[in-house]
Amino acid sequence: MRILVIEDDPAVAKVLEVALRRSGHEPHLAKDFSSAKAHLSQEWDAIVLDLNLPGGSGLELLRHLRQELRKSTPVLVLSGLKQERSVAEALALGAQEYLTKPFSPGELLSRLERYVAAR
């Protein structure tokens, strides 16, 4: 699977990169809002999205993906924000799942694979 990882924290990005590569996937990293937005127009099997990004919000990217690009690519939000409001907003905008940090890479992988398989 080609997976776009939108994440600015180098620790999380590194873990996701190794975990996805080891499971036979092809991760591609975008570290900020503008490069992530540019990458969204390409075709991806799934997207892992952080919400607090340099230059903008992950929710804005999600809105762009669903409402302007009209794509149904599975999106798994991985964020440090635990407020009910952030979760509700992300799910309302069309995210398939909302995981909070600290996270388990195994759990994230199994959910990603489930959403891609269900597509």
């Binding site: 924290d9 180098p10 620790a11 999380v12 590194k14 873990v15 190794v18 975990a19 080891r22 940090k101 600290p102 996270f103 388990s104 890479p105 195994g106 759990e107």
Partner: protein, 379 residues
């Protein structure tokens, strides 16, 4: 008091000020002497040139320091960032079994990389990282126990302990909850909330009762505790001051601690309006109807303070009875926009048909308009 590098900067500023003082003092002395014809013109000219030279030296020193400081810190930061990312790669590969764990001792960037990974990961990986952090023999215990460590060094140590989340380090953190410095007390409370597990949570609760933290800081600590919060919340409700009880009530609602809802009910009779509002908010967030406290709610709905009327109107809808319907109908005529809004939203949840009727037949024109607006938004 001092951050790293500030001592050198302070020394330089002192030197510059001293040079300028010498230069200005010399000028004042010589030009005063010239007024009374005590010294000749050549001497005044020489002193003037020397003063200019001293000022030039002082400015050059200051500029050189600033330029060197920026150049040095930029180079150092980029070196440290590179080292941090290298260690991050090595530890991540070791974590996933792609490479062997580099043998300790590890440098500072390695420890930072370990802490970042520990903070981000849960489950089996997090446990393995905790063991690696223990192997690194970090210096935080020494810093926190020592007498000579600076405030920034202690803050860094407390922050590192919070990231490491090693339960055995709680004993290092708790004494700082009684530290005279409020900044260290707050950092210790945050660290304690991240570290405390099992019986440690009760020790943290006792320490928090002695820490006298402001209510906002205490609420932050309770939210950091997440599912471990209930024993601390109960201790604060039982033994805390009004500020501490406010934080506990807020935390019950925000963390959705449903099992503690019955303990909120007695606070509906609190005299302190802030405490009463916190109890109303907590029950609303929990969706817990305050049965048996109907009279208290109706009294809050007539209170002169608008924020109490708003919270009471929102909570009334949970009662799901005729008393609530009548009270909300009446509250649609409240002079406050926010109370009318809360009443209309409550009626929409409780009895949409009654809200329809209110939009057509409520005696208060503002109440009718509000009912109509809420119906329109819902549609």
């Amino acid at each position: 008091m001092w951050r790293r590098g500030e001592r050198l900067y302070a020394l330089l500023v002192f030197l510059v000020v001293a040079l300028e003082a010498v230069a200005l003092g010399g000028l004042v002395l010589v030009f005063s002497g010239r007024l009374w014809n005590l010294w000749g013109y050549p001497l005044a000219q020489r002193v003037l040139l020397e003063a200019l030279l001293l000022t030039g030296v002082a400015l050059a020193l200051l500029s050189a320091y600033i330029l060197l400081y920026h150049g040095y810190t930029q180079a150092r930061e980029s070196q440290e960032r590179q080292a941090y990312e290298d260690w991050l790669s090595r530890f991540t590969q070791a974590l996933f079994g792609e490479a062997a764990l580099p043998p300790p001792p590890w440098p500072r960037p390695a420890l930072e990389a370990l802490l970042s990974l520990r903070e981000m990961l849960s489950g089996e990986f997090a446990e393995r990282l905790a063991d690696w952090i223990r192997q690194a023999r970090p210096p935080w215990g020494r810093v926190l126990r020592g007498r000579l460590a600076s405030r920034p060094a202690r803050l860094e140590a407390l922050e590192a302990l919070a990231q490491a989340r090693l339960p055995e380090t709680l004993g290092l953190i708790l004494p700082y909850l009684e530290h005279p410095d409020p900044v260290l007390r707050l950092a210790a409370a945050r660290a304690g909330a991240r570290v405390a597990q099992g019986e440690g949570v009760l020790r943290l609760a006792e320490a928090l009762l002695r820490a006298a933290l402001p209510r906002g800081a205490l609420l932050e600590v309770l939210l950091l505790l997440e599912h471990r919060a209930p024993p601390v919340v109960e201790a604060l409700l039982r033994q805390g001051t009004e500020e501490e009880r406010w934080a506990a009530l807020e935390a019950i609602g925000r963390l959705k601690l449903e099992a503690l809802a019955p303990q909120v009910l007695p606070f509906l009779e609190a005299r302190d309006p802030e405490l009463l509002a916190a109890a109303l908010r907590a029950l609303l967030r929990l969706g817990y109807p305050p049965k048996g406290y109907e009279e208290t709610l109706l009294a809050a709905l007539k209170d002169e303070r608008e924020f109490l009327r708003v919270h009471a109107a929102r909570l009334l809808a949970l009662l799901q009875n005729d008393l609530a319907r009548q009270a909300l109908w009446k509250a649609l005529g409240d002079p406050s926009f926010y109370v009318r809004r809360a009443a209309a939203e409550g009626l929409r949840l409780l009895d949409p048909e009654l809200l329809q009727r209110a939009a057509q037949r409520h005696p208060d024109p503002y109440g009718r308009a509000m009912a109509e607006q809420v119906l329109k938004e819902a549609a």
